[in-house]
């Protein structure tokens, strides 16, 4: 692996995107190139997975000087936590491309490729400035894809998400720069590498608090945690299918990833100190968004709330400070990405065929499109956390972890099984199953490509629920490393 496999994974999509822009290729050619790229990346990621050692430390490191005057380096690496998100990306994106196959323009495909670069770059960065670079760079193609191909009041949503997230990120940028300067004062040289930043000892408690807050605001907006969630509704509702797919299934998880990757090692003490608050914020979000989802009539907004609800639960998991909760959170990231991603693809198709997003105007889909309904049902059961799907394994572990953290929180967090079931099944009844006399004759059942695209998701959802252990063993050493070496919790 000495040819810089991570760099290839990051920059191949960008290279393809720019070549497509320069070359006189039509939408179809671009789409084929994008799909081929996704497949190549899938193969590369499989190689990474295969060669990944069972340890909690960074692997596949790459290091090049970038702006050496200020110690900013191009530095990459992955550990178990990044690995699972990487696997997720590599699996989901080809499926999504199969779903978006027809009727998309060149700009759409170029944007998708660029988003992919941004996501993987964010995932691999070991340097804070590089991380920030990709983190913000990711927004640009998102901006384009929603602004150009969205529906409804798309420009407004675009500006809302962009300004909101950039504003959050600015706090993080300030924190990053402050940390860099603090490092300079302490050690006499510039560095923004994560490994160096964690060695800073001179920060006072007040400083640390502010910096912690700076990071957390950026990530809380991205996730989103209560009360930073209002961008979510319009964005999810107005995004095109590809955009909302990537936003919900991957980009939201990067907020969680950011907390684990940066906040936890840089501020381990504050992380432990504030863990109870975040556990409760997560649980509150879980319940709040879950109840809010119940009466939403716009199906995409409903899924937005449902996503937010589960992401709150993921945040609860990573702050439980024990191996159950954190492993469960890592697992729920996968489970939720697959289920939500799949649901958004399915709903996107429904919107594409019928032009309807309102739940009361739907109904009777099941009769018209049985295969569609089967897949919808599988995704839905995963969201609900039915045993036999990976949703259950992850929710169970998080509840277990939360209970270990605080029994009362554990009991309250178990409410998730009830809340998700209520809104999802009620929606399923009104939008898909029951015939409300609405005209849905335009609804088409899945074609062959769509079935092929959806099968890996459905298969993994069930396989990971029936045999979770096989998927766990590469995550666990990393989680142990986090807990024992970084947070220094020995008796959890």
């Amino acid at each position: 692996m000495d040819f810089g496999i991570l760099s290839v994974i990051i920059f191949l999509p960008m290279f393809v995107a720019f070549s497509m822009l320069i070359l006189p290729v039509g939408a179809k050619g671009t789409r084929n190139a994008a799909f081929l790229t996704a497949i190549i990346i899938f193969i590369l990621v499989c190689m990474v997975y295969y060669n990944f050692q069972l340890s909690g430390y960074m692997q596949f490191r790459e290091h090049h000087r970038w702006i050496s005057t200020y110690g900013i380096n191009y530095s990459l690496g992955i550990d178990g936590f990044s690995l699972i998100i990487l696997m997720l990306i590599a699996t989901l994106i080809p499926s999504a491309y199969l779903w978006l196959w027809d009727g998309r323009t060149k700009g759409y495909w170029v944007s998708m490729l660029l988003i992919q670069t941004g996501i993987t770059g964010t995932l691999f960065s070991q340097d804070l400035i590089l991380f920030y670079f990709f983190w913000e760079g990711m927004l640009l193609p998102v901006f384009m894809i929603i602004g150009m191909f969205g529906t409804g009041n798309r420009v407004f949503s675009t500006i809302k998400i962009t300004v909101y997230t950039i504003m959050g990120s600015l706090f993080m940028l300030i924190s990053i720069l402050y940390l860099g300067v603090a490092f300079f004062y302490e050690f006499g040289s510039w560095s923004f590498a994560l490994n160096d930043i964690v060695q800073i000892t001179t920060l006072s408690r007040t400083e640390e608090l502010w910096l912690f807050a700076g990071f957390m605001i950026a990530f809380a907006i991205k996730i989103p945690l209560f009360p930073f969630h209002t961008w979510l509704l319009e964005t999810y509702s107005n995004s095109p299918t590809g955009g909302v797919f990537l936003l919900s299934s991957i980009m939201a998880k990067l907020g969680v990833y950011g907390i684990v990757r940066f906040v936890m090692p840089i501020f381990p003490d504050l992380y432990k100190e504030f863990a109870p608050y975040f556990v409760w914020i997560g649980i509150f979000g879980l319940i709040y968004f879950g109840i809010a989802a119940l009466m939403q009539t716009n199906i995409k907004k409903m899924f937005a709330y449902s996503s937010a609800s589960h992401l709150g639960f993921i945040v609860t998991g990573i702050f439980t400070l024990n191996v159950y909760g954190m492993t469960g959170a890592a697992f729920l990231i996968i489970a939720h990405a697959m289920a939500t991603g799949g649901l958004f693809l399915l709903v996107g198709k429904m919107e594409y065929n019928l032009g309807i997003k309102a739940i009361p105007a739907l109904g009777g889909i099941a009769k018209k499109a049985p295969v569609f309904t089967v897949f919808f049902g599988i995704m839905l059961l995963c969201i609900v956390g039915l045993p036999g799907t990976n949703g259950f394994v992850s929710e169970f572990l998080i509840i277990l972890g939360t209970f270990g953290f605080s029994p009362s929180a554990g009991v309250v967090s178990a409410l998730t099984v009830l809340i998700a079931a209520s809104f999802m099944f009620w929606m399923f009844q009104r939008a898909i199953l029951a015939d409300n006399g609405n005209d849905v004759s335009q609804m088409k059942d899945l074609n062959f490509k769509e079935i092929v695209g959806m099968l890996p998701l459905a298969f993994l959802i069930i396989a990971m629920g029936v045999y979770p252990d096989w998927f766990f063993y590469k995550i666990e050493p990393t989680i142990q490393h986090y807990l024992v070496d970084i947070l220094e919790i020995r008796n959890y």
Binding site: T230, Y288, V374, P387, A414, V417, D435, N436, Y467
Partner: protein, 628 residues
């Protein structure tokens, strides 16, 4: 050792259901597959499972062997392993036998009942999946694997109840069932997690849990026991989570038979029996269970006396009988409870199938007061129903008599006379409402003689006969010692505390007499009121019993509606008018202040010059004052 065959008891129906599901999709999408293929596949799996189960049963006779099979490590976190393991002890195998047997008969019946249905393959997909889940539930070796089956049963019941999904009402009924079950599951999950922390340090299978229970503080055990019982309440439709059961009649009749007879609702009873080592330690919770059971039994019986829908009457009778079972298991008579589960499976399946046959014959008419006179038209169904009714009423020597008698004996000998009294009262009511149904449907004067009956297929009649026979003899395996039997059920499951064994024989006879008397009283009242009932006018009921004590309305008003209001409040008021207001207010504030400041740039040169002057003056004044 052929222990891996345990897994196949579950796997056969599971694989068969998967095949059926794929074949059904293939059939509706590509080429139509004839129904016979689905029939063969769907019907063979319960019988194969039964055969395997029976082979284990034979190996168990006369010894205390427990068969264990660990298929693979299901989950391992932090060195804590949970295996996908199967365990067959006497209780599990007992359950497996009658689940597969009665379930198989219901499958046969369904193949006739659903013959003309478009979703024939889909129906058997759900049915086999249901059976697989139920078998996993009883064969699991740890609570968490049991929970997989537990939830699988729940979701299959959802799909089966909302089988005719075009009608919103049916899907609503399915939702209600699933969500009421989920409330129970919440308790189950909490109990499981508490158990992992407090009890399961050596492993999470039943054997380790049983060993671990001994050193756990009693309040923790009480918490676990209560939470588990919440799960049982949800699944077995007891007060206060019973509301889904009557609505569950929205599904096709075989579904009702399957849910009510052999599977699903008995899961709660099974679970309490499975955790007998826990409930033995916390008799107070057991007492609560018994009381919940008793009140549910009475409550359901009262409601059943006024219902007119044949399936709803049977639904409430199920709830009532489940109440009896909980009385037994709550008071420590686990084998007695399981015995009643067993006999109940036979006669309740028979009742539902008979009702289904009548319903089919009358072109899907469900109001008993629009039936009448069916005795001459469908004599086989009549005799089957008569036997089942006698069995549920508790007339000797039919199946229900022995199990119900033992339950009441358990209650009496435990000193819980109130529960015993409720039980006897319920027995009177049971006899009354069941014979009311029978008399009205089969003996009542029919004013629609001319109507042509729908034919009942042979595959529907055959299971009726088998089950009628079963309803007669099923009780014989549990004949108590005083009647010369040797209580095979009790000795089969003999290693448990069984409080019914410590009563004087004379008193036991008296109690038995009281039970028979209760059944006769109920029957007599029903006979007086409803024999040869004249149905010139369909009676209209109202009042609190007919309205089922307004429980649905109360839940709707005080829970569902409130949650919906909160939801609207959150998503349309708080989020839009408060949180988003702040966010958008911030951004609008920036825009507004931008507008305001941009007014300064008004292209008036003289204005600019004036401000320059002001600025210069301020700066120079500052410089002069400070820098001096």
């Amino acid at each position: 050792m052929n222990n891996f065959l345990l897994a196949w008891i579950v796997l056969i129906p599971l694989l068969s259901s998967m095949t059926l599901g794929l074949m059904y999709l293939f059939s509706i999408k590509v080429i139509k597959i004839p129904n016979i293929v689905f029939t063969v596949l769907g019907l063979s799996s319960p019988f194969l499972s039964f055969m395997i189960g029976f082979s284990f049963f034979l190996q168990m006779i006369g010894n205390h062997e427990i068969f264990l099979y660990k298929a693979y490590r299901w989950l391992s976190v932090d060195g804590y392993d949970i295996d996908m393991g199967f365990m067959a002890d006497k209780l599990s195998i007992f359950m497996v036998l009658f689940i597969t047997f009665v379930g198989g008969l219901i499958h046969i019946y369904a193949s006739g009942y659903m013959k003309t249905d478009k979703g024939y393959g889909k129906f058997f997909f759900y049915f086999n999946l249901f059976l697989a889940s139920m078998l996993l539930l009883v064969l699991a070796d740890s609570p968490i694997i049991m929970f997989i089956g537990w939830e699988g049963v729940g979701v299959c019941s959802y799909f089966l109840i909302s089988y005719y999904y075009e009608d919103t009402k049916n899907v609503q009924a399915g939702n209600k069932a699933f969500i009421a079950n989920r409330v129970g599951d919440l308790g189950f999950i909490i109990a499981m997690i508490t158990m992992i922390y407090y009890v399961g340090s050596n492993g999470f299978d039943y054997i380790n849990l049983e060993a671990g229970m001994q050193n756990v503080p009693i309040n923790v055990l009480t918490f676990i026991g209560s939470a588990l019982f919440v799960g049982a309440i949800g699944k077995s439709a007891q007060i206060p989570l019973f509301v889904w059961l009557p609505d569950a009649m929205a599904g096709p009749t075989p579904v009702s038979a399957l849910i009510h007879a052999a599977t699903m609702v008995t899961a709660g009873v099974y679970m309490v029996a499975r955790f007998h080592f826990l409930y033995d330690l916390i008799p107070n919770v057991g007492l609560i269970i018994a009381y919940v059971g008793a009140f549910s039994a009475l409550f359901a019986a009262i409601i059943a006396t006024k219902q007119t829908d044949i399936k709803k009457i049977l639904a409430y009778s199920t709830m009532s009988q489940l109440g009896y079972m909980f009385i037994a298991v709550g008071l420590g008579g686990y084998s007695v409870g399981i015995f009643h589960v067993f006999t109940h499976a036979f006669f309740k399946a028979l009742l539902f199938m008979g009702a289904g046959a009548v319903i089919v014959a009358l072109h899907h008419e469900q109001n008993i007061f629009k039936m009448g006179g069916m005795r001459s038209k469908t004599p086989i169904v009549y005799f089957a129903m008569l036997i089942a009714t006698l069995a549920i009423t508790g007339i000797p020597p039919f199946a229900g008599f022995f199990s119900k008698d033992e339950i009441l004996l358990t209650a009496f000998s435990s000193g819980e006379y109130l529960i015993w009294g409720i039980g006897v009262l319920t027995a009177i009511l049971t006899a009354y409402y069941m014979f009311r149904l029978l008399f009205v449907v089969f003996h009542g004067k029919n004013y629609q003689e001319s109507r042509k009956l729908h034919t009942i297929s042979k595959s529907m009649i055959m299971p009726l006969i088998v089950l009628a026979f079963g309803s007669i003899v099923a009780g014989f395996i549990g004949i108590p010692e005083i009647l010369g039997g040797n209580n095979l059920v009790g000795s089969w499951l003999n290693d448990w505390k069984n409080s019914s064994l410590h009563v004087e024989h004379s008193r036991e006879f008296i109690l038995m007499g009281i039970n028979i008397l209760a059944a006769v009283i109920g029957t007599y009242v029903a006979y007086k009121k409803f024999f040869n009932y004249d149905m010139a006018i369909v009676p209209k009921y109202n009042g609190i019993i007919w309205k089922k004590f307004y429980i649905d309305e109360i839940y709707d008003r005080f829970i569902v509606k409130k949650v919906k209001e909160v939801s609207i409040f959150i998503s349309y008021k708080v989020d839009v008018n408060f949180i988003d207001m702040i966010v958008m207010g911030l951004s609008r504030g920036f825009i507004k202040s931008g507008h305001f400041i941009s007014k300064v740039q008004n292209a008036n040169t003289r204005f600019y010059a004036f401000f320059m002057l002001v600025g210069i003056s301020v700066i120079s004044t500052y410089l002069i004052m400070v820098m001096r």
